[in-house]
Amino acid sequence: MKRARNVAIVVLAAVFAISLLANFFAPAPYAMQFRDFISSPASRRFWLGTDELGRDRWSRLLYGTRISLLLAPAAALLSTTMAVLIGGVAGYLGGWWDRVVLRVIDIFLSIPWLFLFLIVRALLPLNTSPLTSVIVTFTVMGLLGWASPARIIRAGAQSLRGSDLVLHARACGCPGTRLLLVHIVPNLKPVVFAQFWISIPTFILGEASLGLIGLGVAEPLPSWGNLLRELANPRAVMSNPWILAPLVVLVVVVSCFQLLLPQKEFAS
């Protein structure tokens, strides 16, 4: 298991490093259109072929990885932090506070938030740069994504509240804040980590869907989300299997993140 985790660390480090050094590794700028080579197959010049505008897929994958690997975890961190604060405290305190939070979570999950993205897009100045636009998108996704993990974290905190461990600490006169920070939160770590890793691909795919309403990563900036949009055409996938590359990278990266989960604590 340790070996697998080491491999995961190496792979993640390599992916991060290559994407951060995309300027160095990418053979062409991500927006450069080679119009005489549209939808070219993989070749020595274009390792992953070119897209429908003749842009080098390998270069776009490198730059897209950089965007997604930085922003999706950031959004996941934001949503998980909110979930810990809201769900963790609700589960620990219980009573009317817990009931209110649960209702709020239910309401929050039942509202279709797409309209909020439309409002955000309508309010954003049109000359907003693609990078600012994508940062805003991921921030909004992070702010909206807390409800689901909060429900799970609340359940974890609630079960810990009635555990022998906490009863013992309480019997020893441990004050409430210390009880929460020293005994509850550290024991919620596996659940919190799991929620964090699960959120990352959700945000990446969410960004891809938002692209359809113009809120994803704006052209010509690449991201895993808009690179994955090419897979919507099953015929293209059959004839050009190399367009699966962003999906492969996504699966590898998410799997590596999963391997890094604290397994022992999970088991406990």
């Binding site: 450069m32 259109q33 897009r121 740069s129 309403i213 113009g214 704006a218």
Partner: protein, 539 residues
């Protein structure tokens, strides 16, 4: 020669033709109405075309007028009235006889102001009532308060209703009759056994028993079903799917040449728009607009986005519109050097690869377009790269359609827009709401209280002159000048004219795809399903 060949094919096929079979294709939404006078959407237009009987029909191939329920017609010298001689012995689908009273009833219903019919609006040349005089059972005259240019062509859109039938709009004179409608599922049209037309051998048309229209929004599923043989035609297919189909089954892919659809972009020239004054000055400059136009490689757009199934656009009228197209106009040539030279005349200059205006502002603007339209998004990305070559930074922003319409027609919070235009009507009168400076669709600066520029005043004058003239050639002269001004001033930067692309199953015979709508089933009464298909239907 080509026309003779088509006529020969139709004649020989009709000799061999058999009755029967069910034609299947897709509507992309539910029809909003079955009242033929209230049609505004494409699905309802399909039903109207297939079920409605009209006095005069525009032949989609030749673009000439052909007698249908009227055997002949005559327009008065001033263009204020039209007299029709009607076909005798024609009956509606419920057996009610057709007469001049039905034409009078239809025109009365159409011009009823409380109906708010857009089809009727086309006939409103001035305030006042439209009078219909029944001269005999087979002769009727319609008198308008003022001359109506291109009057006879407008009757292509007016299906005649029965004045006496208890079935009202359900009694039709077209080749098919509405049999069943399952919302969200399908519309079934059955053969009108009273249809008046016969083939060369005297057999009553149509050949088909029925047309089943499946309601299917998803174009990919439509293409998949066509490939599986579940559909017989796709009337209007996008270039990417067409090119794929052309590779797999070339005999099923039809490119009829340029259609009436074009793609274009424009700059916001509205003086009340919440934009910096220096930007408004750029957009009002003809040199700036022409330079942007010259910096765009239209040939690349046609090749890359439309896989060669489009033509660089020169002006407001597509080459598909044979009579009104100004053949002398050429698309603005792709020439970045020429573009920069034009910009220099207005004080623009390049500094560190960035184009700046006389006061040093970097030239940067956003181009909005509707999200979800892949071709348009790609086109925006290509324009972005072309403009970067002359130092202009363009941000491409895709918006949902409602937000986009709000920006271009209500709050004017945008700088440039990329959209498409589809002309359903060949006559330039249908473009009055675009070219008149006071019109709401005069997109670069709509609803002007008075023309903002001398050239717009000139366009107003020419459009009004062509609309009040009856002589077609004189009207063409006026409208040619409008096209020249539009090309020279470039308020709309026309990019491409898309080709009319369709997919037709080899089982369907007598198909002759045309450039104008409805491209594939315009001769639905003559379409024949091959024997193989008939056998399958029988099983």
């Amino acid at each position: 020669m080509r026309r003779m060949l088509i006529a020969f094919t139709i004649a020989t096929t009709s000799l061999l033709a058999q009755w029967g079979g069910e034609l299947r294709f897709c509507l992309h939404s539910d029809p909003k109405t079955f009242n033929p006078l209230m049609v505004e959407d494409e699905a309802s237009e399909t039903i109207r075309y297939l079920t409605g009987g009209v006095l005069i029909r525009v032949n989609r191939q030749s673009q000439e007028l052909e007698p249908e329920l009227a055997t002949s017609w005559k327009i008065s010298r001033r263009g204020q009235s039209i007299t029709f001689q009607l076909r005798q012995g024609v009956v509606f689908s419920d057996g009610t006889p057709f007469s001049a009273d039905d034409v009078a009833y239809t025109m009365h219903a159409l011009m009823d102001p409380s109906l708010h019919s857009t089809t009727g609006d086309a006939f409103r040349s001035a305030s006042g009532t439209v009078e219909t005089q029944v001269l005999a059972a087979d002769r009727v005259a319609i008198v308008f308060p003022a001359p109506v240019a291109g009057l006879e062509r407008l009757f292509d859109q007016v299906p005649i209703l029965s004045a006496r039938s208890p079935k009202k709009e359900a009694a039709v004179l077209g080749p098919f009759v509405l049999a069943k409608y399952s919302p969200g599922m399908e519309v079934l049209l059955e053969r009108n056994s009273y249809y008046w037309k016969t083939d060369a051998s005297g057999r009553r048309l149509p050949y088909l028993d029925a047309i089943r229209l499946d309601i299917q929004q998803n174009r990919d599923i439509e293409l998949m079903r066509f490939s599986r043989g579940e559909l017989h035609l796709i009337n209007n297919i996008d270039a990417e799917s067409f090119s794929r189909l052309a590779q797999q089954a070339p005999s099923q892919a039809y490119d009829a040449g340029p259609s009436l659809e074009s793609e274009m972009m424009w700059f916001n020239q509205n003086p009340n728009a919440p934009l910096p004054e220096y930007e408004k000055a750029w957009f009002r400059s003809k040199n700036f607009r022409r330079a942007v136009s010259s910096a765009i490689n239209r040939a690349d757009l046609c090749r890359v986005i439309y896989f060669g199934h489009a033509q660089p656009a020169a002006g407001p009228i597509s080459p598909a519109n044979r009579f009104w197209f100004r053949a002398q106009l050429k698309p603005h040539a792709y020439d970045p050097k020429e573009a920069l030279a034009g910009l220099r005349q207005d004080g623009f200059h390049l500094k560190d690869g960035t184009l700046r205006d006389r006061e040093g502002h970097p030239v940067e603007f956003s181009l909005i377009t509707n999200s979800g339209n892949k071709a348009r998004e790609r086109m925006g990305a290509m324009v972005q790269q072309d403009l970067a070559a002359i130092g202009i930074k363009m941000n491409l922003v895709t918006l949902d359609f409602r937000s986009l319409i709000e920006r271009i027609s209500q709050n004017f919070r945008y700088e440039a827009c990329l959209l498409g235009l589809t002309n359903y009507d060949l006559d330039p009168n249908s473009q009055m709401n675009v070219w008149l400076s006071s019109a709401s669709n005069h997109q670069w600066y709509p609803n002007q209280p008075k023309p903002a520029t001398t050239w717009e005043a000139e366009v107003d004058r020419l459009m009004e002159a062509q609309a009040s003239t009856v002589v077609r050639e004189k009207r063409k002269e006026y409208f040619d000048r409008v096209q020249e001004i539009a090309s020279d001033e470039a308020p709309f930067i026309y990019l491409v004219n898309k080709n009319s692309l369709s997919a037709v199953s080899p089982k369907l015979q007598n198909v002759s795809p045309a450039m104008i709508r409805p491209q594939t089933y315009w001769n639905a009464d003559s379409l024949v399903l091959g024997p193989a298909q008939l056998a399958r239907n029988a099983r």
